[in-house]
């Protein structure tokens, strides 16, 4: 190759450089074109996805609706799981759902902690960290479920509790504000958490709900650990306002004495549950000491609903109306159990009381200690102190002992208490005798719904055709149950698993002139009730009792005959003359001797307040379920009298 002259070399280089430049420019243009092309493809793909999404109606919904649905879908959760799985699954459905769910902090509000999270301060699992991160500082709901630790390594030493008073080192202090705490654990972790709540120097302004379940049989240790520690750090100043938003407290086997106190102005609902097996006496007497419940309720003046599931207090202190209300304010003072009298704690806002496992005498004591003038619903299940109760292996010793200490001195009359706003009374018991005591010192002038049920489940399992009916306990006379048997506003009566004696039926119905709905479930003596309902008023005609009755429900009642039921319907629906009305047969003794009714003057309240001019209501609905004496054809024949009939055959295996 001959050497080029310098000028030719420069020219050749310039040409090559020019060509390279052109190619580079072309390359750049192509790159721009390629990028543009890629962008167009991406845009078109997104458009295509959007259009394809239109095939699926769920994609029509705007994000705010999807968020509302997602939040509702995360309402419930499995407390034993290691994370709240629902938001995770929602974020895995499709791109849109992932973007929406990751952008909505409330979906990630529920942080599950594990035992290791509490053991190692400041270190929580990666999953919990992810949830906290995604919740973006919004209030979180802490869920903890941990099995009890080895009893040999229990963390109940006071020194450890004192160490925990440095709450800044607690894992809870690393979390965003707490909205709720759901804790199910042995008492080592429970102590850990309670100590944090009690010792916290700062308030918990967002905390709305606390749900604690102790799963350790020796829960008395927890009580002793916290209650007996007199270090000031464990005291609960009366005026402390650390829980301004707390609305709901539910505890199982955790004594109220262990809970952080101070004023609870927002508390609306308290549920106190004690399992039958823990704790055992003698701890249990302290565990349920009335002074702790009274102090707690004194801090929660706006409580609306109280649930006591075998968690009723031990009434071992008497009430003293003259005791100063400031009694509860001095923390060291009220903890001394040497008191014999405590002031009553008025519960002005209490609307509902649900009490399972109550001693029959304790109801009056309760309302003496905790006057509740605005109570509207009372749901109470009594223990039978004289009868062995299978699930409890005998009467609950604490329930039996719960009222002995507060028994008034001989000659001291207990006052009659009036619950003037009570509309609904539901009673469960296992014998008729139990009903003779609890309500004799209480009045319910506004009662609208009354349910009296025998809670002996063995009767239900025995079913129709067995001799279960012969063992049904007798329902006492209304006068023997209630101080004032008149129920002028009662519209709904439910009886379950009792025998209503023939001579009691007319009187009972006479006390209920406004009754509209009668429900009988496994009741022996329905015939007596129907006979009374079929009776007419002499010289006037029309039904003698319960003229407003419009609905009758009969469940698994064996003795009821169709003829009487038809008579009631025909009389009340205007298809039968009163002259046809049956005359109720007088009761008879087993030896055949007839018991003549006593002649007596009319008793106040036994006459219907309805005037003769008032028209009688028609029976519009009859439900017959599992009554062997009433066939479907018979029941359906009532439809021709204008009655809506629902009929079901007797079940072979009643539940």
């Amino acid at each position: 190759m001959s050497r080029l002259s310098p000028g030719a070399l420069d020219t050749a280089l310039a040409v090559i450089s020019g060509k390279i430049g052109i190619l580079q420019k072309t390359q750049e243009q192509l790159r721009i074109l390629l990028d543009s092309n890629q962008a167009s493809i991406a845009t078109l793909e997104a458009e295509r996805r959007d259009l394809e999404a239109q095939r699926y109606p769920i994609h029509w919904l705007p994000p705010e609706l999807l968020i509302q649905i997602f939040v509702l879908a995360t309402d419930t959760y499995d407390a034993t799981a290691h994370i709240d799985i629902t938001p995770v699954r929602l974020s895995h459905v499709c791109r849109k759902w992932r973007d929406i769910s990751l952008s909505e902090p409330i979906l990630w509000r529920r942080v599950f902690l594990r035992p290791d999270d509490l053991r190692h301060r400041h270190v929580i699992s990666s999953a919990a960290t992810a949830f906290v991160s995604r919740s973006r500082g919004s209030a979180v709901e802490v869920v903890f479920s941990g099995r009890p630790s080895d009893p040999q390594t229990l963390l109940v030493q006071s020194a450890l509790l004192l160490a925990l008073k440095d709450t800044q080192g607690h894992v809870f202090s690393t979390l965003p504000p707490l909205k709720s705490i759901s804790f199910q654990s042995g008492y080592d972790f429970m102590v850990n958490m309670l100590t944090f709540l009690r010792n916290g120097k700062d308030a918990y302004p967002s905390l709305q709900s606390i749900d604690l379940t102790l799963i350790h049989p020796a829960s008395a240790h927890l009580f002793d650990s916290l209650r007996n520690d007199n270090a000031p750090v464990f005291m609960n100043p009366w005026n402390r306002q650390h829980f301004p938003s707390l609305q709901e407290v539910s505890v199982q086997d955790v004594a109220l004495g262990c809970l952080p106190l101070g004023q609870l102005p927002a508390l609306r609902e308290l549920s106190l549950q004690v399992t039958p097996w823990a704790p055992q006496p003698p701890y249990r007497a302290n565990f349920l000491h009335i002074i702790h419940l009274a102090r707690f309720l004194a801090c929660a003046p706006n409580l609306e609903r109280l649930v006591l599931i075998r968690g009723g207090p031990i009434f071992n202190l008497q009430v003293d109306p003259d005791a100063p209300a400031a009694f509860w304010a001095e923390d060291r003072a009220w903890r001394h159990v040497s008191h014999t009298r405590i002031p009553p704690v008025p519960m002005e806002h209490l609307r509902e009381l649900e009490w399972t496992g109550a001693h029959p005498d304790s109801l009056h004591f309760f309302f003496t200690h905790f006057p509740a003038p605005n109570l509207e619903l009372l749901d109470v299940a009594f223990v039978d102190v004289n009868k062995h109760n299978a699930p409890l292996h005998g009467p609950d010793p604490i329930a039996v002992a719960s009222v002995t200490a507060d028994t008034p001195a001989p000659g001291l009359l207990q006052p009659v208490l009036e619950l003037s706003r009570l509309k609904v009374l539901r009673v469960e018991c296992t014998s008729g005798d139990v009903l003779r005591a609890p309500f004799l010192k209480l009045c319910f002038p506004a009662l609208e719904t009354l349910s009296i049920a025998n809670a002996d489940l063995s009767l239900r399992w025995a079913g129709a055709g067995s001799n279960a009916f012969s063992t049904l306990p007798h329902l006492p006379r209304t006068e023997s149950i209630f101080r004032d048997p008149r129920m002028p506003r009662l519209t709904h009566l439910m009886l379950s698993a009792f025998t209503v004696l023939q001579e009691h039926a007319p009187t009972m119905l006479a006390y209920m002139p406004a009754l509209e709905h009668l429900e009988c479930d496994i009741v022996d003596g329905v015939s007596a009730l129907l006979a009374a309902l079929a009776a007419t008023r002499a010289h006037v005609g029309g039904p003698k009792y319960c003229p407003r009755l419009s609905r009758i429900d009969l469940w698994c009642c064996e003795d009821v005959g169709f003829v009487l039921l038809e008579m009631v319907v025909k009389l009340r629906n205007g298809f039968r003359k009163h002259a046809e009305a049956p005359v109720p047969q007088p009761a008879s003794m087993p030896n055949g001797r007839v018991i003549k009714p006593l002649r007596r003057t009319a008793r106040a309240g036994t006459e219907s307040p309805l005037t003769q001019e008032e028209t009688c209501a028609k029976i519009t609905e009859v439900h017959v379920d599992g009554c062997p004496s009433i066939s479907e054809d018979d029941a359906r024949s009532l439809e021709k009298w204008g009655v809506k009939v629902l009929w079901s055959p007797p079940s072979k295996h009643p539940s």
């Binding site: 996805r49 394809e52 999404a53 699926y56 109606p57 769920i58 994609h59 029509w60 919904l61 705007p62 609706l65 509302q68 649905i69 997602f70 509702l72 879908a73 309402d75 419930t76 290691h82 994370i83 629902t86 995770v88 699954r89 929602l90 974020s91 895995h92 459905v93 499709c94 791109r95 759902w97 992932r98 699992s125 990666s126 999953a127 919990a128 992810a130 949830f131 995604r134």
Partner: protein, 173 residues
């Protein structure tokens, strides 16, 4: 907006004390309904306020079918005169909508219809109906796996395989 319309006799409700509204669905069905019934809808209320400001009453065009519209009217008719907290514009929104037995039966419809109703209720700003529909849909997917959710609500999995297995999208602890 049409001011003169023909009204299908079958859609005229019985005599009522309140004024009548003309609603036009996306399938061009004209439905006359008492204003009082639809007062639960914030959207309709605002439209009516607009009529009063201009002294002219127009038909209200709605972007959903007469089938869906009739379901919404059925809901509003059922709760006519009832106070529902969620629909009170002056009340603080409740934490969660209450469960109403009638609503559960009313919304016992197929999936697509349920989605159409909630969209219509959202458009009409009937918060109580939106809440009940949302609860019904949430009940359908609660406790279900991801795949079951897709199947129940007819959602296509549009993740690429890489995205689906990306650790950034996982949170399983």
């Amino acid at each position: 907006m049409p001011t003169i319309v023909s009204v299908d006799d079958s859609t005229v409700p019985g005599e009522g004390s309140s004024r009548l509204l003309l609603l036009v669905s996306s399938d061009n069905k004209h439905i006359v309904v008492e204003e009082d019934i639809m007062s639960r809808s914030r959207f309709i209320s605002k439209q009516v306020e607009g009529f009063e400001a201009t002294s002219q009453r127009h038909a209200i065009l709605l972007p959903f079918s007469s089938f869906v519209l009739n379901k919404v009217i059925e809901y509003c008719s059922h709760y006519r005169g009832y106070y529902l907290l969620e629909d009170d514009p002056d009340a603080a929104p409740p934490g969660r909508s209450p469960v109403r037995e009638w609503d559960q039966e009313f919304l016992d419809v197929d999936r697509n219809m349920l989605l159409r109703i909630i969209k219509a209720a959202h458009y009409l700003e009937i918060k109580s109906l939106v809440g009940s529909c949302a609860r019904a849909i949430a009940d359908m997917i609660r406790g279900k796996t991801t795949e079951e959710m897709r199947e129940i609500l007819g959602v296509e999995n549009d993740f690429t395989p890489e995205e689906e297995h990306s650790p950034s999208s996982k949170c399983t602890g």
